[in-house]
Amino acid sequence: MTEQELDAMLKQPLPERDAREFSVTLMEAIAQFEARTPRILAWLMLGILSLVIAAACAFVAKVAGRADFGAQSLAVPCALILLTLILSFAALQSVRE
C-alpha cells in the first residue's frame, strides 16, 4: 500500500449518522438537567414550609392554653402565616418552572 492510497483511505469522511433520535434523547436529557435546580429548590421550600407549619402548630397549642390574644401574642402567628404564604408561593413558582 502506498502513502497516497493510505491517505485516501484515511481521508474518507466518517459515515453520516441520523440526528433525529439522538437529538430527541439529548434534548430530554438537557430538559431533565435544567429541571433539577428548581426541583431541588421546591423540595427545600417544602421542607422549610413543613418546619414553619410545625412551629405554627406548636405556638398555637401553647397560646391556646393561655387564651391571651394581646397585640404581641398575635404578632408571632401573623408572621408565621405570612411566611407560610410566601414560601407556598415560592414553592409553587419553583414547581411550575
Binding site: 500500500m1 483511505m9 481521508k11 474518507q12 469522511p13 466518517l14 439522538f22 438537567f33 435544567e34
Partner: protein
C-alpha cells in the same frame, strides 16, 4: 444560520434552541469519532456522545472560543472515552467489527477493513489519525483536542500510519 452565531447565542444566553442546532450539526462527527474509539460498539459510542453533549451544555458558559466549537467537543468526547475506558477496560473487549460485519472476500479494501485495522491501534493513535484526516483538523487543533503536546500528536500520527499500512498491506 452561521455556526458562530449559534455558539454565541448558546454561550451568552444558554439558548437551548441554538445549542440543539449545534448538536445536530456536530453529532455525526462526534459519534463517528467515538464509534471508532470504541471499536464499533454503537451503544457505548452513542452513550458517550450523549454524555459529551450534555457535559458541553453544562459547561457551555466556560467555552471561551480559544479553539473551534468542534475541537472543544472532540476534547470532551475524548476525555469521556478515556474515563469510560479506564472504568470498563474497553481496550480488552473484542472489536465489534470482527463479530458483526463481514469482510470483503476480494482484494479490495473496504471500510470494514479500515475499521478493523483502526481497532488494532492504540486509542491515542486512532483518535489522532481520525481527527487529522477524517475530521480535517490541523495538527495543533488535534493536539488541543487530545490535550497532548504537538510533538506527541505527530508521533501518534506517524506510528498509527505505520501500523495501518502494515495491517492493510497484509489484507490487500
Amino acid at each position: 444560520v452561521d455556526e458562530n452565531v449559534l455558539v454565541a447565542q448558546a454561550v451568552a444566553s444558554r439558548d437551548v434552541a441554538a445549542y440543539s442546532a449545534l448538536a445536530r450539526l456536530h453529532q455525526s462527527k462526534v459519534r463517528g469519532l467515538l464509534l471508532r474509539l470504541t471499536r464499533g460498539n454503537h451503544t457505548t459510542a452513542d452513550d458517550l456522545a450523549q454524555e459529551t453533549f450534555l457535559e458541553a451544555w453544562r459547561g457551555i458558559g466556560k467555552f471561551r472560543g480559544e479553539s473551534s466549537f468542534a475541537t472543544w467537543l472532540y476534547r470532551i468526547a475524548y476525555s469521556r472515552f478515556l474515563m469510560q475506558a479506564r472504568k470498563r477496560r474497553l481496550d480488552d473487549q473484542p472489536a465489534e467489527w470482527d463479530a458483526t460485519s463481514p469482510s470483503g472476500e476480494d482484494a479490495t479494501l473496504t471500510r470494514v477493513d479500515l475499521e478493523r485495522a483502526f481497532a488494532k491501534l492504540l486509542p491515542a493513535e486512532s483518535a489522532a489519525l481520525t481527527l487529522c484526516f477524517a475530521l480535517g483538523l490541523s495538527n495543533s487543533e488535534a493536539a488541543q483536542a487530545l490535550q497532548i503536546p504537538l510533538g506527541t500528536l505527530k508521533s501518534h500520527v506517524l506510528r498509527g500510519r505505520e501500523k495501518l499500512k502494515e495491517i492493510l498491506g497484509e489484507r490487500s
